[in-house]
């Protein structure tokens, strides 16, 4: 329950920090850290407009998507403090409940019959499919290292003690940040700011959503950011005492947001065709980690 509450709190300011970092990096003052959440609150109080070409699927999808994120967060622990539920192989549940939400997002985009949203849906499906092996190899590797099979046991069993484990945690960190950027459709894979129908991935899928539905989808993105931030934080927290865990949690959330902002400020996004290559590289990095763990175990 603790992690659920903390992730919710972090989701309130995560995107705000990314935006603020980007503003500062380009020499602007930028909006307040809570501006994104204020915008979402405004949207949540509005009604939604539905296109006549859409069906029930389109109206259902935002809620299912939002619920899937909440369900995924339920299994995320905070160091040695369990999430709402914890069971063996819950990371498989985590990955596929997210995939379920994404599936609904994709069919809702197809439901609008817009050629842009169709293109966005096809890209999102491709890129998350390519990112999936990286996540599973990563979690499998951590499972192999600790000999456990649930998020809680894996993270509480993780000890950073040898030189090799520093390398492993660095790779794991990099992988999780990159998977986080891909899953949230941020740079360098996608750019939410450009607003060009032909180049967007996630943003183009939600062009027809409005009001309450749009608010849900946008806040789902914030929650997802904070959720991946929590996974990264868990790599470091281990068996810290409660106050240490909470402090580390927020410290790492903020650091992750700053890193995301810096990545988005100082490079151009990839060419669409290069994205698949880049995402596949993540899988091979994860394999490298697996190799490292096998060395440790032997």
């Amino acid at each position: 329950m603790l992690s659920f509450a903390l992730i919710f709190v972090a989701s309130l300011f995560f995107t705000g920090i990314v935006v603020r970092v980007k503003s500062l990096a380009s020499g602007r003052k930028g909006p307040g850290v809570f501006q994104p959440i204020r915008d979402i609150w405004r949207l949540l109080r509005k009604g939604a407009v539905y296109s006549r070409t859409t069906s029930l699927v389109f109206q259902l999808a935002p809620s299912v998507y939002f619920a899937s994120i909440l369900a995924a967060i339920a299994v995320v622990p905070l160091g040695s403090y369990a999430g709402i539920v914890s069971f063996s192989c819950d990371f498989v549940f985590f990955a596929y409940v997210l995939a379920l939400g994404k599936f609904f997002c994709i069919i809702a985009a197809l439901d609008t019959g817009s050629s842009f949203e169709g293109m966005g849906a096809s890209r999102e499906a491709l890129f998350s499919m390519l990112a999936e092996p990286a996540f599973f190899i990563l979690m499998g590797t951590l499972g192999l290292l600790t000999g456990r099979t649930s998020f809680l046991q894996i993270f509480s069993g993780l000890h950073i003690d040898s030189n090799l484990s520093y390398i492993l945690v660095t790779i794991a960190c990099f992988l999780l940040i990159m998977i986080c950027m891909i899953e949230n459709s941020r740079m360098p894979v996608d750019d939410p700011k450009t607003h060009l129908e032909l180049t967007m991935i996630h943003e183009v899928m939600i062009l027809d959503n409005s009001g309450f539905d749009l608010g849900l989808i946008l806040h789902a993105t914030n929650l997802k950011f904070a959720m991946y931030g929590a996974l990264i934080a868990n790599l470091f927290i281990g068996n810290m005492p409660l106050w240490g865990s909470v402090a580390a949690f927020f410290g790492i959330q903020i650091a992750t947001a700053v890193v995301a902002g810096v990545i988005e400020s100082f490079m151009a996004r990839f060419r669409m065709g290069h994205n698949s290559q880049f995402i596949l590289v993540l899988s091979s990095l994860a394999l490298l980690m697996l190799l490292g763990v096998m060395l440790i175990i032997n």
Partner: protein, 499 residues
């Protein structure tokens, strides 16, 4: 002689243009475009004369620095042999003549509507039934963008035929911005009204179009502007070039999501465009160029203010540009994207900055110099490949070139106050072609006066008229997600095309 060779802004009697039978006219133009490598068509249009139509074709020969003009009188019901079959660059001119007068062209690939004017020959053609090119296929899909776009840009419809993410074909349908500018030039009889019209042809080329109009008008009136006035106009034209090029670099950075470039180039554009505010009272330099006079004298103080402004601008601009063109993630987006090969650029008659990026040396400042540029021996900048990188890079080089040129102007100006001249009435029965190299490329204004010296016909051509086809060809076989940067790298005008 079956044609007449004139200089840029040279006023001649309209009757001096030889009138040929269409067959001779056809072989003359075919021959010119085939034999002279640096010849390209700058204007080809019809003027109603009684019930028939007089076709006038102006071929600019960059090697001889002359514009060859020939004409033919044809009936609107005629079906003529199409020049497009041999010279693709004429396709849009023939489509326009067909649209305005109903003249048929046999052998033209597809006489599609251009801009739906109110006085079009065939009223049954409307936006709603525009004949798009289609491919019937299960595998391919069509993506239609616009005419209303997500950004705050002008309206135009783009229809892509794609194989997955790859563009096979792009068709650009314009005409939404048609305001009837050419007929307004005849309806509005005051000089001020016409000058105002000229500066509103394309909102981003105020100086370019108003200079072209001023040159044409002064030539018709037999007025020779003073050296100081010529320099002031050239100074304004180059400042406009710097401002828009910088803004475009910012736009290209936006489209590849390179935030630093976007914000720094955006910031750098502001002082340059704001300089016009100090000079002419508004940022777009409206009212700055007027035939026969200037309302905003260029003074020593203005020159110093410009030097201060550019002194701060140049180092930052160079640093940002060098960093942008060195960044691997930027290069990976720009290089080999949206390539227009030099042969293609030549075949479709591309002009201006986009043509020079494809290694086609086409710069009116060098080939048909006017005013200050006459005798300057300007050497155009070119790039070898013709991809988005070259079209971005050429902006950087041209900005530096313009800064040097303007510094020279400041040193050689005499800052003498200009007395407003009283222009004579335009000469009767005259014809003039005025070419100006705006930031986007070659602007062409052609004017004809009647027996009383009133405007009989006014023809405008923005460089976008040539270059839209270049964009459509550039994106072929590229990813559809690269379309926005290709589009931005051309940065063409909708209203300049639609008039």
């Amino acid at each position: 002689m079956n044609f007449i060779s004139i200089k840029n802004n040279q006023c001649i009697q309209f009757a001096e243009i030889p009138v040929l039978p269409y067959a001779d006219f056809y072989s003359l133009i075919d021959n010119k475009l085939t034999t002279a490598p640096e010849a390209h068509c700058v204007a080809y249009y019809g003027v109603p004369s009684g019930k028939s139509v007089q076709l006038i074709c102006c071929i600019a020969d960059d090697a001889t620095h002359l514009i060859d003009v020939a004409s033919a009188v044809v009936e609107p019901t005629a079906v003529l042999e199409s020049l497009t079959a041999k010279h693709l660059a004429l396709q849009l001119f023939e489509r326009e003549i067909h649209e305005n007068f109903g003249i048929g062209f046999s052998g033209h690939p597809w006489l599609k509507p251009v801009r739906y004017p109110h006085n079009t020959a065939d009223k049954s053609l409307t936006m709603a039934n525009y004949p798009f090119y289609q491919i019937d296929s299960e595998e391919l899909h069509e993506v239609g963008v616009g005419p209303i776009h997500a950004g705050i840009i002008e309206p135009g419809h783009f229809r892509f035929i794609c194989n997955g993410e790859q563009i096979l074909h792009l068709e650009i349908q314009l005409g939404y911005q048609h305001r009837g500018v050419e007929s307004l030039f005849l309806q509005k009889t005051k000089l001020l009204q016409r000058a105002t019209l000229a500066e509103n042809i394309a909102g981003d080329t105020v100086i370019g179009h108003s200079t072209a109009f001023a040159n044409a008008w002064e030539s018709l009136c037999g007025f020779e502007p003073s050296r100081q006035l010529q320099m002031e106009r050239a100074f304004a034209l180059e400042n406009e070039r710097i401002a828009i090029h910088t803004g475009d670099l910012s736009g290209i950075c936006t489209d590849i999501a390179y935030q630093l470039g976007n914000s720094v180039f955006g910031r750098l554009r502001t002082p340059v465009i704001n300089y016009f505010q100090r000079w002419a009272g508004n940022r777009f330099a409206k009212g700055l160029i007027r035939p026969g006079k200037t309302n905003f004298q260029f003074t020593k103080e203005l020159a110093e203010q410009w030097l201060d402004m550019i002194g701060a601008y140049r180092p930052d601009f160079v640093e940002m540009a060098e960093q942008t063109f060195d960044l691997p993630s930027v290069l990976s987006r720009l290089e080999q994207t949206g390539r227009v090969a030099p042969e293609t650029a030549r075949a479709i008659g591309m002009v201006g900055m986009a043509a020079r990026a494809s290694n086609v040396v086409r710069d009116v400042r060098a080939s048909h110099p006017w005013g200050y540029y006459d005798g300057l021996q300007y050497q155009p900048v070119t790039e070898p490949v013709g991809d988005v990188y070259c079209r971005a890079r050429i902006r950087y080089d041209e900005v530096l070139r313009s800064i040097d040129m303007m510094r020279q102007m400041i040193d050689t100006m005499d800052y003498k106050p200009q007395q407003p001249a009283t222009l004579d009435a335009p000469k009767a029965d005259s014809f003039v072609v005025s070419l100006v190299e705006g930031w986007r490329g070659e602007i062409c204004h052609c004017a004809i006066t009647d027996a009383q010296g009133n405007l009989l016909h006014y023809k405008i051509k923005d460089p976008s008229f040539h270059n839209w086809l270049g964009l459509a060809l550039a994106v072929r076989n590229n990813e559809i997600s690269d379309f926005p940067i290709c589009n931005k790298s051309f940065d063409l005008s909708y209203s300049g095309h639609d008039l």
